[in-house]
Amino acid sequence: MIVQVDNPVVEVHDLTVSYDRKPVLWDIDLTLPAGALVGVIGPNGAGKSTLIKAMMDLLPTSSGYVRIFNEPIKQVHKRISYVPQRESVDWDFPASVFDVVLMGRYGNLGLFRGPRKADKDAAMEALEKVNMQSFANRQISQLSGGQQQRVFLARALAQNADVYFMDEPFAGVDIATETAIIELLRQMRAQGKTVIVVHHDLQSAADYFDWVVLLNMRLVASGPTEKVLTQELLEQTYGGKLTVLSKVGDLLRKQEFPARETKV
């Protein structure tokens, strides 16, 4: 069940990603429509974060390519935005909430330039959207998990991008924050933005997303939510590990084999 779309925002072609020569994602081939809220769903260790990172060109790929707006990522930095997993940074860093949100403007500024007044306005506006304006001067080391997530979201909003990639924005946040975030994502969709969200709660997935990508080392499904969230496909995604696939991966690593013959 892999539905391809015309004029995709994101096109992933035959993508294989390995760590230390062991492939953790095999031959992913998918396209995502514009203006959709896309959920990337799969069990722990399925490679969801890996897929997002590979899409953002943060990882070397063993094969395949990614196009965003039909361009390689290097051409479209200003139109994309990445919200990493909250745990990926050390929050005990000497910076205030406002400093971090302002980082969302750095891409537009270019090297050497300091933030201008307009950038500060944009950062403050982004903070207001996530309801954190009163925390602007707070040290980031004092934030709760939900607040950290909001700060990361505000930083992304300040970027004013067209496609957003978010890695588990709902992980470890309270209900109030989750509701606020999903509301925000819906507003973004209404403005024609595309939002791709890694998510692990099946219950809410049907409600949140209009396009779902099911992933477990390989692509199980990609398509409109109602077609993809079926008993059968979910069983394929969550039912047991593909032992042969991961055994072959182990072999590739041990033998120091390339994943593709042409890439040694």
Binding site: M56, I80, S81, S88, F93, P94, D99
Partner: protein, 427 residues
């Protein structure tokens, strides 16, 4: 003492140069060190510091002079190579970074010592003074050396300020930096180069053995005092500069003394003091906070006791004796007296003929503690479904930390209750 004035009047041009040099060297490496520390690359600094020694020696052997530019170049090259080797080992083998660092550090330093020893035994008269690279000698920072090293130090400071925003993002969130199109590889290279340069210029004053301390310690100390990166940079620079001056002074008064250990000793003292006395993050501040909390708990418990007695007897006008209080709750007697005296000073209780009575304000505060206690018990039984005989202990602590906002929220969520789980009235 006389030497002290001689030195710090800066009348002697030589002293001025030496001081300026030490301040620049120590200050610039401290600033670069802030980013090295935040990037969690403290150990790398150590590896570089030890790896510049073979470079210095080789440069001397090949050129036969002690021209600072040439020595600096040699140091820079081997320092750089050591980092590339570490990177190569970590990315191409299963050896972890710390092991790779240890390996590279000892191999390079070993070779450096070997070369240094052979130079010293070669009978080359020009070699005298090369060994100051081991432990450093601020007083030898004169003339040509000073100019070269000073320029590099200023360059370091300037570059760090120019790339402030980029380096900050690199240290905080490298992945994000890449997605917005920052040239992360180039920035990493820049920070590496800055680190190597900082080490290279610093060794003249501190020596290779202790240079890593000069890079990291001021940054670590400064971190204790502030939550603002800019302030941290300035503080680290000041701390570095101060220890640099001290080193220069020692070098001046006791020419036989190696400077490096002195500089590092001073900066380490500053770090230890910071660790102990910095507000908020420091050890003493934490102790004080705990003490304050204990005092607060004691005071509020006493107010609560007095209030409960009044509530029980339906009479807040009568004064109570200490034993009345201690009967209901065992508080060590000395602590109780101390707490009551403090409450009297603060105007929450009055003392009448060795007996104690709440003032109006004291009654209010006591009532609030009792209310919070009972509210919390109710909250636990209603929302966490705990049995009513299990909630008292918990409420004993929570009653002291609930803020007025939280109190309001509690009241709302519990629908402005009248009675607690033990059917006592919530005042």
């Amino acid at each position: 003492m006389q030497q002290f004035w001689e030195f710090f009047s800066f009348a002697d041009a030589n002293i001025r140069y030496v001081t300026l040099g030490s301040v620049l060297l120590a200050g610039s490496s401290a600033v670069v060190g802030c980013f090295t520390l935040l990037r969690k690359r403290a150990l790398v600094g150590d590896a570089v510091a030890h790896s510049v020694l073979p470079g210095v020696c080789l440069a001397f052997i090949l050129s036969g002079t002690k021209n600072p530019l040439i020595l600096l170049l040699g140091a820079f090259i081997t320092g750089w190579i050591s980092l590339i080797v570490i990177d190569y080992i970590t990315s191409r083998s299963r050896i972890k970074e710390d092991t790779a660092i240890g390996l590279v550090l000892s191999v390079f330093f070993g070779i450096g010592i070997l070369l240094l020893t052979s130079i010293q035994h070669s009978g080359n008269a020009a070699q005298s003074g090369l060994d100051k690279f081991l432990f450093g000698k601020a007083a030898s920072l004169v003339g040509e050396d000073l100019i070269v090293f000073g320029i590099v130090a200023v360059l370091l400071l300037f570059t760090t300020i120019l790339f402030y925003k980029e380096l900050m993002l690199l240290c905080f969130d490298q992945a994000f930096a890449r997605t917005i199109g920052f040239p992360v590889r180039a920035l990493e290279l820049l920070l590496t180069t800055l680190t190597v340069l900082a080490v290279v210029v610093g060794i003249q004053a501190v020596g290779v053995v202790l240079m890593a301390a000069m890079l990291i310690t001021p940054a670590a100390a400064a971190r204790f005092w502030t939550e603002n990166l800019k302030v941290m940079l300035v503080l680290a620079a000041l701390m570095g500069a101060f220890s640099g001056i001290t080193g220069a002074f020692v070098s001046y008064t006791a020419p036989a003394m190696p400077t490096g250990p002195w500089i590092v000793l001073i900066i380490s003292m500053i770090a230890i003091l910071s660790f102990a006395f910095a507000p908020k993050r420091g050890w003493v501040a934490r102790l004080m906070r705990q003490r304050r909390n204990r005092a607060l708990i004691l005071e509020e418990n006493l107010l609560k006791l007095l209030f409960q007695l009044g509530e029980l007897k339906q009479d807040f006008e009568t004064s109570r004796s200490l034993s009345d209080l201690l009967e209901r709750r065992s508080i060590p007697k000395r602590q109780a007296i101390h707490g009551l005296k403090k409450l009297k000073q603060q105007g929450y209780v009055k003392k009448k003929k060795k007996r104690w009575i709440l003032t109006i304000e004291g009654e209010k505060r006591g009532r609030r503690v009792v209310r919070l206690h009972r509210l919390w018990e109710l909250y636990l039984t209603q929302y966490l479904h705990l049995a009513s005989d299990h909630v008292h202990e918990d409420a004993e602590t929570i009653e002291h930390i609930i803020t007025p906002e939280l109190e309001k929220r509690l009241m709302e969520e519990l629908n402005y209750p009248e009675l607690d789980p033990h059917s006592a009235r919530i005042p």
